[in-house]
């Protein structure tokens, strides 16, 4: 029934939108619509109602970054965490979509770890390219944040009927290329998804976007199409990424893509600057360009509402 409804409306919203401050987006089996949080909660459930749960996404904390426009990325990360703790409904857990640190230094990882532990919430990580800079190419990150993961740090878990998949697309990058998952991880993903019912809602998170936002700046993943092919049969797939320090979104078929703001510094919109380096905004503007994402899952609706809010 739900699948039929989705089929009728599939492709209705095949677009990319640049979102503003505090926007709220709901995804229903791949159909994106802008709704209010209250409306999402109050909408009648089509199936047996299950208490909604939320999880929060933080990204690109770059602990150790101290150049314009942000002289202290630790301070803004602390503010972002305070924002998570102040959410009206406490999230069940936090995901961090990479670039935890600026230079993979132990003190950077440790500070991020301590700040996140203080929330008392479970935290699930994937590495960004900044987390792979120790001499052993990511071992420092994996030792601390990747326990129980495979390969370069990928894993999956289930939470209240939703299947979460953490992918790594920043390891062993190829000259001239973009993000890369690699054959070993794709093989694992195929096996991980193989036995699951197509009605299982899926949330995939990885650092670099799993669709090509802007190839000239390497903002995409070379072999993402192979992963998306494996996900295509599922009725509700949400892909959460970071890396580009701004909100972008796109809905294609039943897959909804979303990138989160950084908690450290903004980056320019694709092609609007000579390079993707930090956008040097005035101090008074900085907080309005940093933020967190709150994801609300209402099981009865197979729906995720993603609420982006800034640190302003």
């Amino acid at each position: 029934m739900i699948d039929e409804m989705n089929d009728d409306r599939r492709g209705f919203l095949k677009c990319m939108a640049w979102a503003g401050t505090g926007a709220l987006f709901a995804f229903d089996g791949g159909i994106g619509s802008s709704i209010g949080l209250d409306a999402a909660l109050a909408a009648p459930a089509r199936r047996a109602a299950v208490a909604p749960f939320t999880f929060a996404q933080v990204s690109d904390s770059h602990i150790g970054f101290n150049k314009p426009p942000n002289s202290d990325a630790r301070a803004t990360f602390r503010e972002a965490i305070a924002k998570v703790k102040a959410l009206p409904q406490q999230p069940d857990f936090i995901i961090h979509t990479g670039d935890v640190s600026q230079l993979s230094r132990d003190d950077e990882f440790d500070d991020a770890d301590q700040m996140l532990k203080a929330t008392g919430l479970p935290v699930f990580f994937v590495p960004g390219e900044h987390d792979m800079l120790d001499p052993d190419g990511g071992k420092a990150f994996l030792d601390r944040f990747g326990k129980g993961s495979r390969g370069a740090g990928w894993y999956s878990f289930d939470h209240r009927g939703v299947h979460f998949v953490a992918l790594v697309n920043v390891a062993d990058l190829k000259p001239g290329g973009m993000g890369n998952l690699g054959p070993e991880q794709l093989k694992w993903l195929a096996a991980d998804l193989a036995g699951r019912s197509s009605s299982t809602p899926i949330v995939v998170f990885a650092h670099i976007p799993l669709w090509t936002v802007y190839a000239e700046w390497g903002w995409g993943t070379d072999d993402a199409a192979q992963a998306l092919k494996l996900l295509a049969r599922f009725g509700s797939v949400t892909v959460l990424n970071g890396h580009i320090h701004q909100i972008t979104q796109k809905v294609e078929g039943k897959i909804a893509f979303h990138t989160a703001r950084s908690t450290a510094f903004p980056q320019p919109a694709p092609g609007t600057a000579p390079s993707p380096g930090p956008l040097k905004v005035p101090t008074e503007q900085l907080h309005s360009m940093l933020g967190i994402t709150d994801a609300l899952f209402v099981r009865g609706h197979d729906r995720i509402a993603l609420i982006d809010s800034t640190l302003a």
Binding site: K67, P68, Q102, L103, S104, E129, H130, M132, L133, P135, L173, K174, P175, G176, G177, M178, A215, E216, W217, G218, P274, S275, P276, G277, P278
Partner: protein, 118 residues
Amino acid sequence: MTRALKILTLQAAALASSAVLLSTVSVVTRAAPAPAAAAVTIDNFTFRNPVVTVKPGTTVTWTNGDDIPHTVVSKNGVFKSKVLDTGDKFTFTFAKPGQFGYFCSLHPHMTGTIIVKA
């Protein structure tokens, strides 16, 4: 400090700065006939001079001018820098002729080539 010593110190400083000037000039004049050094600047997520041709024995120095860290990694394992933060340098001396492609392992769309020929 006595007055005499102060003057001596000043003279020493003046000598030192002229020595720096002299050495700078000597590097510039020496560069054309027998190149032993070349530089690649990293700027705006690009290797500013992506193809550099040098003679065998040349030491190439890469300097990161960006606010974001980069690396310099040979495509076939000949050389590999540590992470270069803002202002950090990496040098490598190319003893033998050949073509040496390289890239930034963080931002792999950044690529360059050093051509070494006699």
